[in-house]
Structures are given as structure tokens and as C-alpha cells.
Symmetry: C2
Subunit: 392 residues, 2 copies
């Protein structure tokens, strides 16, 4: 038997995930992956160093109790409302596994499952096995948003339903969603990136709440960038039993390296995620770092203000150069560049050792996404843009 | 809608995992979870401390490249033969998701799926969707062995097939397995803990190879404790395309806290696991620690010898006290105590601030499992045993 025949057909047909570029070039200005330009607080670094002792031989706390206790105080909720993950990515994956029925990889009669086109087999098993009133196999999200959602749907074997955002990457209103007919108010799981990535567009809590109220299945409000925004929707996770809010220490709290994220929501949904996670899913030094972070929030809030000030300045300077800049409530901006196509800008900046992000997908191909770096890094980007426009 | 109705029936019916006891009592001698009594090497602690800087703000290497390169040199294989996980637990879970077809939670006609009793629906879908020649829904393992396997099977919705070990926790021979009729040579996935936990019994590579050769599906040889054994079966993963070997830095390398484990095997199987793992599954400081560990192997080999010497001494002393001690090739011993039932010994030692492990399951309820601690800890355990036997 050839080894590939030992692999589930669904997994065999997945495309391998290609991780974002981590260039090794010295002196590169890296503005492509929305990492925070500022390091963790000195107190956090000291706490992690102080924990590098014989305790590494012991298992970490399996439920991140100290961290959940601090988060509960911060957010005014119970520890039962909280689950900590190996980055919020782990929790997004767990949500697809806890709330969405897996489809078989392929129905011999109908081919792979697609939204709105149930196959004979799917209709039968759905009727027999699945909760009434939900599209139990559907993972739904807006397009564009976090590119992980379709990957997670495919890994689970779920049906993907990607619905376009409205003009300027705004959230479509309920009436428009109903009229459009593509949005599924019964989807088992809907992911909403808020503020949106890759556009940076912020959504107000009132419009998110209206959408949540209309939704029958689980809604995950993915607030990875919310510390750079004007509003957050955390209250919705504590007032609506079908709403979960995702947060991460990666971006705002400069802790990508240690993989710590969390979900807030109803204990029944949170408990379901606990049941299917790995027993010791969050590494010990990550827990130590996250706890120390919550003890030094003023340091991070100063950084948020610096990032926001740099973001607003960058927006002004790019606009002056002829870029069409979308208003951002995140630590990045999306902009439509003048003169050359967006992909050409990517290459021209790269030739000057500045790395930004660009995607070939039709809805975003005219834009570049620029992570907010330090003021010096952003100055370098703007100087390079001026030279590019001047043909130098 | 009540929130529990939003959860997949399969997940709703799972029992919540209860993590092992992590007691907070001061001065307790903790010999219950097989942690290494010796700390990581001073060079490893220095390397991790040295990495506690601004890099924490950046994403870790998504494929643990530096670690895989070192492991490839150590084991004489290619990096494509290796995947690193958030502990080997993550990889065991990924294996169930990559190689075993999920069953539906419950067939309305037949109840939950059971080994050897396919329901009408199962037979139909199996015929339509599943590779010929494999029991595509079956996760198989010996009993007793690592208690995570049935949990993983249940989370996936797979069919469990637990087959008893032979007398003294030895591996049944092929002829016995064939005669018994319960072992499934076509199981999609078989887990073999080698050396066995909780008994400590070691298996020789020749008998493991005979079993692997007879097996049609994927075999995971879970070598969590192999550094304390006389033989390892790593060569089987590099010579048989359907065999994977699991290793971990937790036990032998004193790194439970940082969650680093790995699988070795054919690139096709390893590649399937890469496709479905989280993008940044291994935390950065864990990668740093594991790389530094491989640079200081003589330190760890000295510890293995110390643990083995303490284990042999403990075996002799317990035998002299009337315990029936199983030969161990791990960092723990399993023993049948004299005079009182095993559970009573657990309680009597615990009253003397010494924690060992005991399980109520019929195949192990007559035994206690004792992790090998420092010499001083083991002396305390033996002294306490003498007092217990003397009625003091």
C-alpha cells in the first residue's frame, strides 16, 4: 500500500498551508505580518527570565488558572467564561471542530460539498444526524477577512460560505444580507474579524449586535486587533449565549513568539472547547508572560497610543502622495497606491528592503497592506515611496 | 435556543477531561506524573533566558526548522521525515484526524458505533467513502497503555478497539492476536506505547517489527519513555512507510513546561500532519530550549543513568519489602504492594506527603505506579513503606 492511501481522502486533497514570509535579509524593514514594533514590557521579560529554572521539568497548569483568574477580573466575568489557547488560532480551529459537523471529503455522486448545493447523501445525513434549524455543516465568514477561516473549514470538511463585505469593506446591513440571499442566518459557525483584516475597517458594536441577534448558530467575533480600535464588542460575548469573542496576546501585547490567545463566552460553549483541546495546550512560559503582561497594562496602552499616532501620520503622508488610504482601527493600513499597480509597489518597496503585504485575490489585489512599525520604519517607507514616485 | 444545542452532539456527549493532580501542598514528594526529577541543563536554561528579548514580539518559526535540522542530523533522516508538535500529545491528536475517518456521533437506528458492530448507515458510508482494505474508522491500542488514546478516539468520533496485553503486560504474539480475533490488522490507526505505560514493560524491536509488518494501517510507536529503555524502534519509522515514531522532550529532557514533541516517519504521512496542524503550533522559547537540549546531550545521558540506577535500587528495596515489582524500562515502576490493597497504599503514602499514582480500572487496580524521583525522594518513599508495614 502506498503511504498516501493511508491518509484520509479529505486531508490528502488539502493544499499544504504556506506560512507567511519570514525573510532572513539583514536590515529589512518588515511591515508584512502585523507584529508589534515594540518589545514586551521589561517586567514581562524579567518575569519570563525569572521562570527559567527547574520548573521547566514540570507540566504547566493545564487550564491556565492564574491567567484565567486575572482575565476574569479584567473583563468582569467568571473563569468559566474563559478558555486559553496555543494562540487564538488554536481556538478558532477548536471552534470549527466543536460547532460544525464534518462533511465527508467527497460524495461519489455529487463531488465535494458546496454551499447551497446539498448533495443527496448530505441531505439524508443532515436530516438524520443534525440539529434541526441549523446549517450544521457550514462555516461562514465575510470576504475579505482572516484567511485562516477557509483553511479551517477545509480541514474540518465543512461547507464554506464566503460572503462579500459591502463597499469600502464595511459590514453589510441586515436588510442587504437578507436581500442578497447568500448570507446564511442558520450557519453553524460564523467568523467575523472585527476590526476587519486586511482592510483595517472598524465595526461598531451596535451593528455587530444586530447581526448577532439575527444569527441562529455560533458567532465568533475575532478581535485580534481590537486594542487599536475605538470600540470592542466584548459585552456581546457575556450577554448572548451564542457569541464568542476571540482575543490574542500576539499583536497588541507583543507576544507572537509564545502563542497565547483566549475566547470569552457562555460556559456551555467554552466547556465544549475545553473538552476537545489538548490537555496541556498552553506552554508554561507563555502563561507566565501573559500573566505578567496583565500586571503592566499601562506600558502596553502607551504603545497602543504610539502605534495609533504613527498610523494616523502614515495615513496623512500616503494620502498626500496620492494613495487612497482606508481608515484603519488596527495596527496596519490598507491603501490603493497611485501610478503603478499594487503588486509593482510591493516589488519596488522590496527592492528598497521594505516588506509589505499584497494578495492576488480580486477583492484586494489593488491594495497593499502596511503594518505599523516604529516611526523610523514608517519614515523609511514614506521616503522610499517618494523616490519611487519620483522615478529614482 | 439553549447554547448546548449549538454544540455538536458528539462533543456534547464527551466526558470532560480531568487533568492529573497538581497538588499545591508544600514539601510533598511528587512521584505521580513521571516528570524528570532533574532540571534542564544549565546551558538550556541560559539559552532560554538569553532569548527573552524583543524577539518575543515576532512569530516563531512556523516549521521549527532549526530544531528539525538538528533532529535530522541526530537521527540520520531528512527534515521531511519530521514534524514538531505542541508536545507529542498534539501530534497524537493530529494522527487521529489525519488517518481515521470520523464516525457520526450517533446513528438514530443503531446507537453509538462500536468495534466489530457496524451499523447500517456506517456500512453504507464506509462502502461509498472509504479506502478499500482498511477499517477506516478504527483507533486501536493495547490495554493498559497511554490513557489519552481512547480520549482522542472519542473526540474524533472514531471506533475504539482496546485489546488486552498479554500476561505481565507483555506484547501478545502475532499468532495469539490472530487467534484472539479482537486485534484488527486493518485498523486505520494503531497506537503502541513502547516501553509500555503504566507498567514500564519494554518491548524489543523485533517483536514490534513483526507486528508492524502484519499491520495494514498506520502504526504509531509512542516512545515517550524510550530514553530509559534498552532498545528503541526508531529505525522502523524510517524503513516502513506506515510506521511513525513519537518522541517527546517532556520526560527524558525535563521540558514538560514548554510542550515540545515530534514524530518521525515517511514524508507522505508527516506531510499530511503538517497540512492540518496550527500554523504556528510550537512556541518560540520551546524551540530554543529543544535546540539547546540537543547541544548538551551528555548532560541528559548522565541523568538517564542516574534515573535508571535509582529505579533498579527502588525495585530491589520494594521487592525486599514484599512488593511484586514489574521490570521497568522507563522512569517509573509498577508494583503490586503487600498486605493492603493498592488503593490503601496510595492513601497511606499520601498521608505521609508522598504522592504516587493508582487507577481503579480492573487491569491495573492491584498496582501502584511510582515515578522515579531523586535518590532522597525514593529514600523517603521506602522509609514510609517500612513504617506502613510496621504499622507505625
Amino acid at each position: 500500500m502506498t503511504p498516501s492511501r493511508l491518509i484520509r481522502p479529505l486531508v490528502r486533497e488539502l493544499h499544504a498551508y504556506v506560512p507567511g514570509e519570514q525573510p532572513k535579509i539583514k536590515g529589512l524593514v518588515k511591515l508584512n505580518t502585523n507584529e508589534n514594533p515594540y518589545p514586551p514590557s521589561p517586567k514581562v521579560l524579567a518575569a519570563v527570565k525569572g521562570a527559567c529554572d527547574q520548573r521547566l521539568r514540570l507540566y504547566p497548569n493545564p487550564t491556565a488558572d492564574a491567567l484565567r483568574a486575572k482575565l476574569a477580573r479584567l473583563h468582569g466575568c467568571a473563569v468559566e467564561n474563559l478558555i486559553v489557547g496555543n494562540g487564538s488560532d488554536e481556538l478558532l480551529a477548536l471552534a470549527t471542530r466543536a460547532f460544525v459537523e464534518p462533511a465527508e471529503a467527497r460524495c461519489a455522486q455529487c463531488g465535494p460539498p458546496r454551499a447551497g448545493q446539498p448533495c443527496v447523501w448530505d441531505a439524508k445525513t443532515t436530516a438524520r444526524f443534525v440539529e434541526q434549524g441549523l446549517s450544521a455543516r457550514t462555516v461562514q465568514y465575510f470576504n475579505p477577512s482572516y484567511s485562516l477561516y477557509p483553511v479551517l473549514a477545509d480541514i474540518t470538511g465543512a461547507v464554506r460560505n464566503a460572503v462579500p463585505l459591502a463597499a469600502g469593506f464595511t459590514l453589510p446591513g441586515l436588510a442587504d444580507l437578507r436581500r442578497g440571499g447568500q448570507w446564511d442566518f442558520r450557519a453553524a459557525l460564523s467568523f467575523i474579524t472585527t476590526p476587519n483584516a486586511p482592510s483595517g475597517r472598524g465595526y461598531c458594536t451596535a451593528e455587530l449586535e444586530a447581526l448577532c441577534r439575527a444569527q441562529k448558530g455560533v458567532v465568533v467575533l475575532d478581535e485580534a486587533y481590537v486594542d487599536f480600535a475605538r470600540e470592542n464588542a466584548l459585552a456581546l460575548a457575556l450577554s448572548h449565549p451564542h457569541v464568542l469573542v476571540a482575543r490574542t496576546f500576539s499583536k497588541a501585547y507583543s507576544l507572537c513568539f509564545q502563542r497565547v490567545g483566549y475566547f470569552i463566552g457562555h460556559p456551555a460553549l467554552i466547556g465544549a472547547l475545553h473538552k476537545i483541546r489538548d490537555s496541556y495546550n498552553v506552554n508554561g512560559l507563555g502563561q507566565v508572560a501573559a500573566v505578567a503582561t496583565l500586571d503592566d497594562l499601562p506600558y502596553y496602552r502607551r504603545n497602543f497610543r504610539k502605534v495609533i499616532a504613527t498610523r494616523e501620520r502614515l495615513g496623512g503622508e500616503l494620502t498626500a502622495l496620492g494613495f487612497e488610504v482606508f481608515p484603519s482601527q488596527t495596527n496596519f493600513v490598507m491603501a490603493k497606491p497611485p501610478r503603478f499597480p499594487a503588486q509593482a509597489w510591493l516589488e519596488k518597496w522590496r527592492a528598497r528592503k521594505i516588506l509589505v503585504r499584497w494578495w492576488p485575490h480580486p477583492e484586494v489585489k489593488d491594495f497593499v497592506r502596511i503594518s505599523i512599525g516604529t516611526d523610523a520604519e514608517i519614515d523609511a517607507l514614506v521616503r522610499a515611496a517618494k523616490r519611487i514616485l519620483a522615478g529614482r
